[in-house]
């Protein structure tokens, strides 16, 4: 048998063996048997020294071809088997991906913080600074400097917790306003501040009253601030919190520290203005109070009301949260029932 024939025979036998190898181990065995140092192909190559110089390259080339062919077939078969093994493993590893994931505990911000943060960010975007005043304030700053002298009838609207005759728990975060006005350097530009925080009123706690709640007060003072600017700002606040599909109306009101004073109502989001229990059949929901800073307030802070003017507004995040989420009892905000707190997912 010529060497070529022998190689052809080996090749055909080898290919058949590779094909029939059904596990990796067998493939490897075939490789060792055929292509190993002691294998038949090596043996054939060793026999080449007996060939003529003319035949030698031909047989050599053919031998290489056979070897490559076999090597190729082995690699292919190995890959096939490996792939099959992986596939088998994958099938075995199949999971019920609908089972719940392993929980990483995650807390969430209080709903009132969410509202305050949302408004803080809105106003920071408009160049406001955030101011945090003291919760225990002087009567002088909480009332008198806001044009509410002792015995002013409007003090009845705000029953107050006193520590002493002159020191109280602030009833409004606008108590920060006189301090802001005093401390601001108008040569560096307008005063634009937002004061969020806790306030206190001497109320008996029930579904709609809380001795502790929150307020956000805004104040802008500059050389040319108009009531139109106030209207635009309030509209922005209402749109931010309730969506821009609702109308905002201003109507006259009274606060001793602003003149003119207004209250802002938003179309009742529950009935779209048709009238329902939430808006007491009016179609409107009162959301904030505002006005142009009273000249006396500016004067008391040493600011010339002829040259400077501004607006102020105040709103209650508790009330907003009650309206926005349909919370029917304000005490929910301070009892911290986890079943309540966990309902408000938005991040603060």
């Amino acid at each position: 048998m010529s060497l070529q024939d022998r190689l052809t025979e080996l090749r055909d036998q080898g290919l058949a063996d590779i094909k029939s190898a059904d596990v990796l181990k067998k493939v490897n065995q075939v490789k060792v048997d055929l292509l190993g140092k002691k294998g038949p192909i090596t043996e054939v190559l060793r026999g080449m020294r007996d060939l003529t110089p003319e035949e030698r390259p031909k047989v050599g080339a053919y031998a290489n071809e056979v070897r490559d062919r076999l090597q190729g077939a082995i690699d292919e078969r190995r890959e096939e088997l490996e792939q099959a093994a992986v596939n088998k493993q994958l099938v075995a590893e199949k999971l019920d991906v609908t089972l719940p994931g392993r929980e990483v505990p995650q807390g969430q911000p209080h709903v009132i913080t969410q509202i305050i943060t949302e408004l803080e960010d809105l106003f920071i975007g408009m160049g406001y600074q955030i101011v945090d005043g003291d919760e225990v304030e002087e009567d002088y700053y909480n009332f008198e400097r806001l044009n509410l002298p002792k015995d002013h009838p409007a003090r009845d609207m705000q029953d107050t917790f006193y520590i002493t005759k002159d020191v109280l728990l602030r009833t409004q975060t606008s108590a920060d306003q006189p301090r802001s006005l005093e401390n601001h350097d108008f040569s560096k530009g307008p005063l634009k501040v937002l004061s969020p925080g806790r306030v206190y009123r001497r109320d008996t706690d029930d579904a709609t009253h809380s001795h502790q709640f929150h307020q956000i007060e805004g104040l802008v003072v500059d050389k040319h601030i108009t009531m139109a600017d106030l209207k635009g700002t309030l509209t922005l606040v209402a749109n931010e919190l309730f969506g821009d599909q609702f109308e905002v109306r201003l109507r006259p009101s009274y606060f001793p520290f602003t003149e003119p004073s207004v209250e802002a109502d938003v179309t009742c989001f529950n009935c779209n203005g048709k009238g329902c229990a939430i808006c007491k059949q009016t179609g409107w929901i009162e959301v904030l109070g505002a006005g142009m800073v009273h000249p006396h307030v500016l004067e008391m802070s040493g600011i010339d009301p002829e040259e400077y003017g501004g607006f102020a507004f105040g709103l209650g995040p508790d009330r907003f949260a009650m309206l926005k989420y349909g919370v029917d009892d304000i005490r929910n905000f301070y009892l911290n029932d986890v079943r309540f707190l966990s309902q408000f997912y938005k991040k603060g």
């Binding site: 719940p100 392993r102 929980e103 990483v104 505990p105 995650q106 807390g107 911000p109 913080t113 920071i124 408009m126 160049g127 406001y128 600074q129 003291d134 919760e135 225990v136 015995d151 002013h152 009838p153 409007a154 917790f161 006193y162 520590i163 020191v167 530009g189 307008p190 806790r198 109320d203 008996t204 001795h211 802008v220 500059d222 040319h224 108009t226 009531m227 139109a228 600017d229 209207k231 700002t233 109306r249 201003l250 109507r251 006259p252 009101s253 009274y254 003149e259 003119p260 209250e263 142009m292 000249p295 003017g309 301070y334 009892l335 911290n336 029932d337 986890v338 707190l341 991040k347 603060g348």
Partner: protein, 806 residues
């Protein structure tokens, strides 16, 4: 203030629906609480004519009436009212009618006799009992003789009216009267109101001065005006129905013609008036002064009141007879026997009346008006109008002249404002004509200069206006807030951003939430005991002067105590896995100061498991090391420059003495972490709970690490493990400190990987195991060098801490 639409029509031509009118008032003047329609929900309530009235044979108080209700045949109705009688016109609720309180009236039998409906009293139609005249309170209401049987009853008793319930702000006291409201609406609708006129007939020969002697001792500030008129030969009787209707629709109970006249004028002019029984005065003498300490007065409501020296008094012969502007005295009250009336029309100081009303908790229609101020220019007119009305209703005569205790010149106020100022403040471009027209509609006499400066004379009825800003408000609201443009402030831009404190507070909240704690907001006010509990530093507390309840008296010194209340609330509702944090102020008292130092703190409280038991996770109740891990992770994120240290402490009586650590940053105590003392937990009604409280302000103020990139070593690290048996009392901190001390230059990290003190560990000992990691920044470490360094550590552990290396 309840405004009757029917009454308003005496002043103005108004035919728009009441709801529209209310909306207009709300958008232009004052808030409206609602429109009341007294007949709303009532049906088939008609006039009846009692044709026959006989006693029920089986009852000692029922009557059987045959009543003409405008149908062919009279209907039979059984009625228990004592005042029912034949010939009366009555209110009949027909079968299947609806009366007050959503009550349906059906045919029935009363003691065997068929009753086809009901004869009604006013309260049965939904009248507030406080408004029903006393003389008809015990029986059915008798309608006027000319009422037509079968007609709906509502128009006869004013129930067809619509009443606009206004919530008048403190600055708009002028709208606490019909006249004031009419002026306001006249401006809104650009009409000329028909104001009431006074038709006073004084006796020519009988001088009031002869019988009345009025002196005012109080100062002019307290009593700017005090006047009286005398009305004689008055017959006190119930008022005519039209007057009663006006009063009850305005929310006042009709009393008698004299009192009703004063109340009617009060409603009309906004001027409180008081009628004294002249014969109760001593020799016609009246003096006005402040009360003296120790004096008392029994007021109309029968209460004996201890007077304060801030109370203004009306006296007769120096004996108190009336609490000025607030409530009359019982002894000088007008009764059925009264024949002569001393009628007071006065102006009292708002602050004084407010104090008296507040101190005696007496808030009347009169005091409410005085507190907000009244029209000083209308006092005489109102006094005249009331005198005329009393004389007319009581068939009396008005003595000649007004007795003046004090009078004042009411100077008109003028306010100047320019057109450009108005437009500057409002952001509008109103024309000179538009503004002038608004002042005209308001009926404010105005002159205008060539450079568009208005000089506006303010009538005394609008005492709320004295500065230009007040006029700007008038222009704005009558021009209409709806018509204002909507813009945002322009001018020099400003940078808006959170300051460092605010940013760290906000970040801290997010870190707590990411660690699995949900934000709570608890009450700052609590009991004194709870306020003092868990205080980080010893401090006195800040207490309310006059608390509302014993539960809320004192400002907190820690946040934990509020969080434990929250946990208790949840535990009581079977929520046993709770992890909360709070960020807020605590209030440390400061020496010599009332105001406390307000310090931002952040605290957490965890009970139960942070992760619920589920298919892949066992329930894993919180322990000391879990909450400490949260604190450690949080503090790490703050990048503090100085090292954080945990020291066992027994300083906090509310905390577990063996499971609490004080937390130091450098040498400063910044908080503590640990388990709530079981006794404390029991007192708060909570289960095993772990807490921490941190002085957030101190953490914000603490120096932060200067952050600089450290090149990552290219050379491999080598580790060595050491396991040791060591005395139980030796802390991990001591061991780690020693290892670090003796570890050599290349020791990078010491990691505790096992703690064991169970089986096979002798009592009083524990087994600990650490991995030490060595690395050199600049070279590959030689194994022998590491071994040498490691041996040093082992020796030190053995020698210094008595460890038995295993």
């Amino acid at each position: 203030m309840k405004i009757s639409y029917a009454w308003l029509r005496d002043y103005l031509k108004l035919d728009l629906p009441a709801d529209e009118l209310a909306e207009k008032i709300e958008r232009t003047a004052v808030e409206v609480d609602g429109v009341i329609r007294p007949s709303e929900g009532l049906k088939k309530v008609v006039v009846g004519d009692v044709l026959e009235c006989v006693e029920h044979p089986d009852s000692d108080h029922l009557h059987i009436c045959q009543v003409d209700v405008g149908e062919e045949d009279p209907i039979q109705i059984v009625c228990g009212a004592p005042n029912v009688a034949a010939g009366e016109k009555v209110i009949v609720a027909l079968p299947n009618s609806w009366i007050g309180d959503h009550t349906k009236i059906k045919r029935s039998k009363m003691r065997g006799v068929v009753s086809n409906g009901m004869l009604c009293a006013l309260d049965e139609l939904g009248f507030d009992e406080k408004l029903v005249p006393k003389e008809v309170a015990d029986g059915i209401f008798i309608l006027p003789a000319d009422a037509k049987p079968g007609e709906p009853v509502f128009s006869y008793i004013g129930m067809d009216d619509e009443i606009i319930d206004m919530s008048v702000t403190p600055n708009r006291g002028d709208m606490l009267s019909m006249n004031g409201t009419a002026h306001e609406l006249a401006a809104i609708y650009d009409q000329t109101p028909t104001m009431p006129t006074v038709d006073l007939h004084e006796a020519t020969d009988d001088l009031a001065d002869d019988d009345l002697d009025v002196t005012v001792e109080a100062d002019e500030q307290a009593v700017p005006q005090y006047k009286m008129r005398l009305i004689k030969n008055v017959t006190v009787a119930p008022s005519p129905l039209w007057l009663q209707i006006r009063l009850w629709n305005a929310g006042m109970r009709p009393i008698n013609n004299v009192v009703d006249a004063t109340n009617y004028i009060l409603m009309q002019y906004g001027q409180p008036l008081h009628a004294f029984d002249y014969d109760s005065l001593t020799a016609g003498k009246v003096n006005v002064r402040f009360a003296k300490a120790g004096e008392t007065l029994t007021t109309l409501d029968g209460e004996e009141r201890d007077l304060l020296d801030s109370d203004l008094l009306i006296c007769s012969n120096d004996q108190p007879i009336c609490l000025a502007g607030t409530m009359g005295g019982l002894d000088s009250e007008v009764t059925d026997m009264t024949t002569s009336i001393a009628l007071e029309g006065a102006v009292f100081d708002a602050v004084k009346i407010r104090k008296t009303a507040h101190n005696h908790n007496l808030h009347s229609e009169a005091s409410m008006r005085y507190e907000r101020g009244i029209d000083h220019g209308a006092t005489q007119t109102a006094l005249d109008a009331a005198a005329a009305m009393i004389a007319e209703l009581g068939n009396g005569t008005v003595a000649n002249g007004t007795v003046i205790g004090r009078d004042e010149d009411v100077e008109p106020v003028t306010v100047k404002i320019t057109l450009s100022r108005i437009n500057h403040v409002l952001g509008t471009e109103l024309s000179a004509e538009t503004v002038a027209d608004i002042f005209r509609r308001l009926d404010f006499p105005t002159t205008v200069s060539t450079d568009n400066e208005y000089t506006v004379t303010i009538p005394s009825r609008r005492w709320d206006i004295h500065i230009p800003a007040d006029l700007i408000e008038e222009v704005a609201r009558l021009y209409g807030y709806d018509n204002l443009p909507s813009t945002l402030p322009t001018g020099q831009p400003t940078i808006g951003k959170l300051n460092e404190t605010q940013q760290i507070i906000r970040d801290s909240r997010k870190l707590m939430e990411s660690a699995g704690l949900t934000q709570a907001i608890s009450y700052s006010l609590t009991t004194e005991t709870k306020a003092r509990a868990f205080a980080l530093h010893a401090s006195d507390v800040t207490k309310l002067d006059f608390p509302m309840s014993s539960e809320r008296t004192t400002l907190r010194l820690s946040l934990i105590s509020g969080l434990l209340d929250d946990l208790a609330y949840n535990n009581a509702r079977k929520e046993h896995n709770v992890a909360l944090y709070e960020e807020g102020r605590v209030f440390f008292s400061q020496p010599e100061q009332v105001r406390p130092k307000e310090v931002e703190h952040i605290a957490g409280a965890i009970t139960g498991s942070m992760v619920e038991k589920t298919w892949g996770t066992a329930e894993n109740p919180v322990d000391f090391y879990q909450i400490k891990g949260i604190v450690e992770g949080y503090l790490k994120s703050l990048a503090l420059a100085e090292p954080v240290r945990y020291e066992a402490t027994t300083d906090h009586p509310e905390m577990h003495p063996g499971r609490t650590a004080n937390i130091y940053v450098g040498d400063d105590l910044v908080g503590f972490v640990g388990q709530v003392h079981p006794t404390t937990a029991k007192a708060y009604k909570i289960r095993e709970t772990y807490v921490f409280e941190l002085d957030l302000a101190a953490l914000i103020a603490a120096p932060k690490a200067h952050q600089q990139y450290q090149p990552i070593s290219k050379f491999p690290s080598i580790t060595r493990d050491v396991a040791m048996l060591i005395d139980d009392q030796v802390s991990n901190a001591a061991i780690v400190a020693l290892i670090n001390d003796k570890g050599g230059a290349h020791l990078q990290k010491v990691q505790l990987f096992d703690v064991y003190n169970g089986k096979n560990v002798p009592t009083g000992k524990k087994s600990l195991a650490y991995t030490l990691t060595y690395q050199d920044q600049n070279a590959t470490l030689v194994d022998d060098d590491v071994t040498k360094a490691f041996e040093k550590v082992l020796t030190a552990l053995t020698d210094d801490l008595g460890a038995e290396i295993r």
